[in-house]
């Protein structure tokens, strides 16, 4: 979700195999560099492999070009990597959030084949995505300050995952501003 010169990216913490909960501290949001984060929902093994491939590509890019990747460039890279597996895809939906030039927040999501969806306000993915769309749509306001953005994204996340039996067991929110990064755990309904 985008705020004023800041963004927040949040996920739930459940890892499950259909009805069995396997872990309640699963990390889905990963750092690419200080101002770029990616959240990967979907099949856990594909999310982890995708993350490893992306970190690999980004590190090589940093070494060759002596600079960090811009969020838009990174989104194009993720899209290209996903489409390479067009006929045997990775079963994950990424959510990319970063601060670009002039501290301008950038967010986008894509499907498992790499179809980019840019947005100016919020992007969602996962099993609870329909609830999330509804919650974000009603709670979102443009140009929120970091504290208000954190409140909004937390409420939207918790209320949506409560309505989905496959999501939940708490939340994890990452709030990024040009000067600092705040990580917070949310305690929701643990079920």
């Amino acid at each position: 979700m985008v705020g004023k010169n800041c963004f927040a990216i949040a996920s739930d913490r459940r890892l499950g195999v259909q009805l069995q909960t396997v872990a309640t501290d699963f990390q889905r949001v990963f750092k690419i560099h200080d101002r770029l984060y990616i959240g990967l929902s979907g099949l856990a093994t594909d999310a982890q492999t995708m993350y490893q491939k992306l970190v690999f590509r980004h590190k090589l890019y940093q070494l060759r070009e002596e600079r960090d990747m811009k969020p838009q460039t990174f989104a194009s890279l993720v899209s290209a990597l996903l489409y390479e597996k067009r006929f045997g895809p990775f079963f994950c939906q990424p959510v990319i959030a970063g601060l670009g030039d002039n501290d301008e927040p950038f967010i986008c999501t894509m499907d498992c084949l790499g179809a980019k969806e840019l947005a100016k306000d919020f992007v969602v993915s996962g099993t609870a995505s329909e609830s999330l769309y509804g919650a974000c749509e009603s709670m979102y306001k443009p140009d929120m300050e970091p504290e208000e953005l954190f409140e909004t994204i937390s409420q939207a996340l918790l209320s949506s995952v409560d309505r989905d039996c496959l999501s939940g067991w708490g939340g994890y929110v990452l709030l990024v501003t040009p000067t600092e990064v705040q990580e917070k755990m949310l305690k929701g309904r643990m079920d």
Binding site: Q72, S76, L77
Partner: protein, 235 residues
């Protein structure tokens, strides 16, 4: 020195530590038509002689300075057909970069990849090195840049450089004339004067070629009438 015994095979070092074929490739470059480039504070200019073998050749069909991307141009000294192959490969690499990152390729990355191609041809079987040195001029987020790439695959960033027949005179002239705060217009005049130094015959818009790139980041080759205008200013 026994070097000549090692000159038959590209992939064999001579006892003195040289790859003789590459030395020969550099000779091919050194006997090619003069070309030069100058980096100004607000752009880059590249220029080359365009001496045609006969007056019957249609000079409008010959273009030595080529675009690789809208903001990167290249000129060569040496064997024309070899440079065409390199330009083709560089263009493809630039487009592949764009397809992956949706961002135009930075000049340093393009130079690095072109140099890697040239180096491949010095370490493979059954091929010969490219008989060209390239001057790559571009303008990207890091400002104006000028690189020279040699047949061995080594590349250098230059403030001003020359290659080809008249290289030592041209470089001496450039060393004297180059200033750090030169602007694009001054650089064009200096480039023309440098070419004039070693030019045999009457210089005109029809027998030299000039390419420029400024802060607009669009590389373009000047038309022969524009060159004639600059020549008149320089007289």
């Amino acid at each position: 020195m026994g070097d000549s015994q090692y000159s038959f095979s590209l992939t064999t070092f001579s006892p003195s530590g040289k790859l003789v074929q590459i030395e020969h490739a550099l000779m091919a470059v050194g006997s090619g038509q003069t070309s030069l480039g100058i980096k100004a504070t607000n752009g880059v200019v590249v220029a080359t002689e365009k001496k045609l073998p006969s007056i019957l050749v249609d000079e409008t069909s010959v273009q030595k300075i080529q675009l690789v991307t809208p903001n990167i141009g290249v000129v060569y000294s040496g064997m024309g057909p070899d440079s065409r192959v390199l330009v083709r490969k560089s263009r493809k690499q630039a487009q592949q970069y764009f397809r992956l990152y949706k961002e135009t390729i930075p000049v340093t990355q393009l130079v690095r990849e072109t140099a890697a191609v040239m180096q491949e041809f010095t370490q493979s079987g059954g091929v010969r090195p490219f008989g060209v040195s390239l001057l790559i001029a571009g303008y990207d987020d890091n400002g104006p840049q000028l690189y020279q790439v040699d047949p061995s695959g080594s590349y250098f960033s230059w403030k001003a450089s020359a290659m080809g027949k008249n290289v030592s005179n041209a470089k001496t002239f450039l060393e004297k004339r180059y200033t750090e705060d030169m602007e694009l217009e001054d650089a064009i005049h200096t480039a023309i004067l440098t070419l004039k130094e070693g030019f045999e015959g009457q210089i005109s818009g029809k027998n030299i070629e000039i390419g420029i790139i400024g802060t607009d980041r669009q590389f373009r080759v000047l038309s022969s009438s524009e060159i004639d205008d600059y020549l008149a200013e320089v007289e």
